[in-house]
Symmetry: C3
Subunit: 612 residues, 3 copies
Amino acid sequence: MTDIVYRLGPGCEVDDIVEGSMYIGKVQGFATFGTFVQLNDKTKGLLHKSNVLTDKQERDSIIVLVNQVRPNGNIDLREVILQEGSYETQLVAKKVTLTKLSDLASKIGRNVTIEADVVQIKQTSGPTIFTICDDSGVEDAAAFTEAGVRSYPEVNLGDIVRVFGEATRRNNQMQIEVSGMQVLKGEEADNVRGRINRALEARAEPPEVSPMVKSDVIEALWPEMRKLAKIVRRAVLTQQPIIIRHHADADGICAAVSVETAVTQFIRDNGGDPDQDNFLLRRSPSKAPFYEIEDVTRDLDMMLKDNVRFGQKLPLILLMDNGSTEEDMPSYKMTEVYGLDVIVADHHHPDDTIDKYLLCHVNPYHVGGDFGVTAGMLGTEIARLINPAVESRIMHFPAVAGVADRSEAPELDSYLALIEGKYTRDECKDMALSLDYEQYWLRFNDGREIVKDILNINNAPERHLKLVNLLVTEANLAIEDQMNTMMPHVHDQKLTSGANLFLADMEMFAHRFTFPPPGKSSGEVHDILCKKYVNEPVVTLGLGPDFAVIRSRGVRMNIPQMVRSMRDEMPGAGISGGGHLVVGSIKFVEGMRTQVIEKMVEKISQFPAASL
Amino acid sequence: MTDIVYRLGPGCEVDDIVEGSMYIGKVQGFATFGTFVQLNDKTKGLLHKSNVLTDKQERDSIIVLVNQVRPNGNIDLREVILQEGSYETQLVAKKVTLTKLSDLASKIGRNVTIEADVVQIKQTSGPTIFTICDDSGVEDAAAFTEAGVRSYPEVNLGDIVRVFGEATRRNNQMQIEVSGMQVLKGEEADNVRGRINRALEARAEPPEVSPMVKSDVIEALWPEMRKLAKIVRRAVLTQQPIIIRHHADADGICAAVSVETAVTQFIRDNGGDPDQDNFLLRRSPSKAPFYEIEDVTRDLDMMLKDNVRFGQKLPLILLMDNGSTEEDMPSYKMTEVYGLDVIVADHHHPDDTIDKYLLCHVNPYHVGGDFGVTAGMLGTEIARLINPAVESRIMHFPAVAGVADRSEAPELDSYLALIEGKYTRDECKDMALSLDYEQYWLRFNDGREIVKDILNINNAPERHLKLVNLLVTEANLAIEDQMNTMMPHVHDQKLTSGANLFLADMEMFAHRFTFPPPGKSSGEVHDILCKKYVNEPVVTLGLGPDFAVIRSRGVRMNIPQMVRSMRDEMPGAGISGGGHLVVGSIKFVEGMRTQVIEKMVEKISQFPAASL
Amino acid sequence: MTDIVYRLGPGCEVDDIVEGSMYIGKVQGFATFGTFVQLNDKTKGLLHKSNVLTDKQERDSIIVLVNQVRPNGNIDLREVILQEGSYETQLVAKKVTLTKLSDLASKIGRNVTIEADVVQIKQTSGPTIFTICDDSGVEDAAAFTEAGVRSYPEVNLGDIVRVFGEATRRNNQMQIEVSGMQVLKGEEADNVRGRINRALEARAEPPEVSPMVKSDVIEALWPEMRKLAKIVRRAVLTQQPIIIRHHADADGICAAVSVETAVTQFIRDNGGDPDQDNFLLRRSPSKAPFYEIEDVTRDLDMMLKDNVRFGQKLPLILLMDNGSTEEDMPSYKMTEVYGLDVIVADHHHPDDTIDKYLLCHVNPYHVGGDFGVTAGMLGTEIARLINPAVESRIMHFPAVAGVADRSEAPELDSYLALIEGKYTRDECKDMALSLDYEQYWLRFNDGREIVKDILNINNAPERHLKLVNLLVTEANLAIEDQMNTMMPHVHDQKLTSGANLFLADMEMFAHRFTFPPPGKSSGEVHDILCKKYVNEPVVTLGLGPDFAVIRSRGVRMNIPQMVRSMRDEMPGAGISGGGHLVVGSIKFVEGMRTQVIEKMVEKISQFPAASL
């Protein structure tokens, strides 16, 4: 075993010296009582003349052993002689005491060293602000070169850096005034990244909670829901903005608002600025039950500009009550180009083809469940995994969502039982209708505070009651008026299958551009007809100028298959569409309307009517 | 009469002690020369041994009389003995010298105490900012607990508080650095609130001005107009935002801009930030002549978010040239749920049913006047009550508004006489047409500066002239082109009543989505026909796909009644609508267009033609 | 020649005194060794008793000659006697040492005097900020009277001022703390303005670069292009905001983005705030290939508000790939009223009538070129004149633009040759299609960062490739689907001229409100038909409800002439439209559709078919 001789690296101080170890130094000068030996620029020791073995000149190399480091910092050395080749030289790196960002407040006015991940870089008209994230938290580091000039241009978003500077408080926010910053590379960076990642993993891990109700489906989905919650939590912990895109109906709203509530609280609990949720979280209702190309385009345009202008991370995209189907594909291809993180909680029938674009995909069909376990149910359970503290506020959302989507899953009864004494089924239905009605007028604004009032999470129960009461009344008046207008014009036809087919021309005989919109209107017509022909099979076609909405009861329809075959048989009719087996829609070009309707009637009459 | 013994309350100091009065204290300790007696936590006096009457222990109660308060603050006491029950104890509250907010500038660097109403609470990333309002003005008070943490969470918007702190100047704005804040309750709060209210009432009281013209209608409306002006002034004085919603036509614009001008100046005169009118005042043109559900929804969404995010008060809503009719009802029901203050100045035929939702309702019909006293006339007079200093700038608005709405009221001539030598009737007409044309392209933006140029209140008379000249030329070209296109396709029919009925199909034979829009187009057609059939009764129907615009001259129409009876007789036609007796509109579903037109012609022919 | 006696003006100091000159002064007092003479409030000299000629009292006037100004500043005088009327008195104005704004950083803490042009006045809640511009640069000057109160209200935007104050650094920006400001008038102002103008002219002068390709057209346009570039550069140097309005297609985007790239870099190179390009530069895609009245209205509304609220200059408007035709006239009349600077680079056939509204108009038709030298080509060359540093980044834009607009000009081949080895013609075509497709979904947002990725100027070549690949695939899928739907319904007709006429009803047999839009759809139909009838003349009419798009090959059409004659022959059809000779569109009212199509077919058959 060879001896080890240390070489004291730059920046090392007396603290870095170990008694009994050997160091290679340089003769600095001579005094009457001995020789001064420099161990590095900052550190020198005394080689008492009694310990000198060889005859040296100034600036000669010399190997010394540290006898003692005295309390006053003086270093007593002893010369040693080693044969060339009999020892190995090792560099002593400066031992830095890393400060955790969470400890910064206790170090004000002192120099600190921090190893962290760069999560935002914003150039101001003064300094460059690096937002950094270590295993304990997130803070800002301000570096100044020249007004408005980017400091440390070699540092990029996502780099692991070592930051030197002074801990300060500015406008009552902790901040590091940077005196140096260095990008770590290779193994060193990997180590730090690993440490940060492990800590973030641990902090992002959802708490151990169980589903609110007994449900095989939800239990089977639980691991994937935990995964989704963890991704969301991690985004908050690393200052990644979150965009929640959701279907603009009551179920989608319940899903998204539950997560919004949990995330907002989680941001605040993690020391976020009170206004930060306005920057880090955006909830956007989408017209279609999928992520339309127009929506992803607008989102991308905004997020890329924010990325450039404010150095913000590209966001996490959470789709709720949409995102599971092939219709989302074009948008996912865009998110893939930009490397965006996309996660989905949906209850529409999923297409496997989209999974490769997703980090996580919660869908009841994956585990043998169906549409009846609605997005609002999933969202509320996920919200609890993100932040269980909000449970009592959002506990009724699953029931509202389930009633809204006419869930026939047993879970709905369990969720209703959970809130017994607080809300009845009818009250849930009223909230659902209020959400639909209000969202219609909100268009694609989130209406955050109004929606909170409808869902009674604003601590104003009286206002909630008055608001829901008003909205339900207005919505029902509008529906009634629409039905009075439409019903006299509904044409009926007995199909050879025995089913009753009803055609409602919504282009000509319905109020347009008002509530209820076409989908809702034809649904209401269908409901009326189902009640009238109580034991008979019923198919209702709501006809627009270039689309039709199909609803059926008691007929073994397969709408997607019908649409596909019509598309093949009628080239030039511009047919597309689909949906579920017995509820769906079809699009075509207006000039082929008559032929398309004829063909559709023909197809529908081929589906066997079920016995009711 | 029983003796009074005072008990010195917390916070009281030597200044609060009155020589010759008796106080109940506590023995604090003994010295060779006497006994120290604590009168409260902060104040103690010396009971010289010569003045001791009884034998006490430390912490015993003792009644003393104040012999003298020495210049150095020492208090000489004398013990007194009173029989239990022979005296009454009264608490001495700290005498505070309240500072008025308007005097703050003279107290910089000194501690002040203020009693005020909390009108805004904004949490910043540093301190919490309470905007407070007393009987003299409005200022900010900054309270800091921890960065981003809400100070004094027990203090709510609308509370009456006593604020202690230092008067400072920050960014050249006065501010109080809060050292303590306490919510006043019960009688004490009522007293302060009463004082503030009385002062605000006095400051909000409109100045004593008279209407610009002699008018029985305006005179009869004057008290209600003063009331409206006072509510607006009070909103400014208490930092309540104001939303002016107005019909997007020339009359509505004149009404709203006159108030906008007065309020903007009033904000500045009251020491408002120069940019404050951008936050406190918003003018929004509305498509319909009523407060549509979509508009109230958008307004509510924004105002509730501002309320939560910036702690801003819910706004005062001022409706001008709309707001008087039952069509506003659904929106008023929403404002009621949120307890919003709504005030109206309108000249459409009012429905009484809406009055319960309004704080104030100015309408000429209430006092025997009619449509001819237009919203622009009312608005200008109200603006003068808000701030008479703007009178000379807006003096011509009533004439522009009156000409725009073809007022036949005598007031119009008076208003025209008022501006004789400044603007002719034709110039007013040109401004009115310019407003209509420009607003068409502005859609629902307020176009503030362009509108000011059209109305010549931008101190740029040459630009005004060039602009109006251009807009009038362009508008007339567009109207002429539309008429050339429409007139060849107008069908005429002699009714049995003797009236001439003209049908103009605007769906098929008019330029769409451009100026002039349908209402204006059919009005122009009607004008041409009235000129052509100069002494005959004329009814013009402008036909859209699912609506018709009706204008008549010389026929004793009752459009609202006609619409109601058609609605009853034609279920399934989706009929709605109304308007004035002889000018109005009707909506229906497109599929019933032919039948509805037929029925309408039948109904119209039943109205007797008047002799002209 | 009369003698000159100087009177030392206020503020003058010893530096302003010239030895050997005569001055009129005032006796201040007497000492044993002589008389003190005040030359002005600040300056006095000693008249040694040996140099006294007359007997004076205190405060008497006296004429003295300056013998010497000593190094310590003492002034030795000698009395002179001049006959009344034998001399002339001249005021000596204070010699101020003007500081250039670009030298401000070296004067921190010192008093400076600056002569400059006022380019922005912003009232803050504290001081008034005057942004001033001299012959060297632009800086802010802060003047404070009272919080929120406008300082120096007599100073207006565009005035020439002399500013006195201290050079300071605030938030790391240079700033002048104003102690005095005076508006210069008349000749003095003219001199300063002249000096600033000359310097700006020199700095705004584009660098000496030559066109990237050999082209007679571009060479002939070069002086006008230099002029346009100079106006843009000057706007940047004087803080004038710039709005780039461009046709929302690939050619227009290439034109505008090249200038955007050059200007952004030029702003930064001139010391602009890194965020300043977000305020000073706005790129807005326009739906139509002209400046629509709606666009100018929105622009005006915003710019006038910014002018009032932030004291910003009215912007320079640069129209690209639109602006050359009479259809822009109504908007130009608006810009004229507001005195806006408008410049145009377009390749549509220009109408001379608009030139009086423009400062500069670059158009290939002006020099015998045509449409084939596209706006993107012009824009890229102009961008190089604005800032040649960006050349290598945008060098491929002309080829993309040329391919997009199917240019048949020889310049396209030269531009393609220029990028040989970097991009093929097909890659250019892909970028062009990607731009069109993406812009469709962006609506009228600029999509800045996405567009940069499509054009590969974001330093992310892989992302560029993936993105273009995706967009091209999606666009082609959509086009294919549209063609499959449309082609079966295209009607054909052999005209007497021998041409094949095809009618494609896009209202009835095309997908609407999706990509490809009507113009693109009918173009694709036309291409298919041209390939099928390869050597025959082909005319394709794409028919909307109230418009038709016309494309022709091999027919000597003159569409503008046809539209004009149809307009005359069919009053009441509401006809308008135009375009190029062989490509264009026509609008009409829906009710006249059949008649208009018939007439159009009749007209088209009268144009002789060319031999192919």
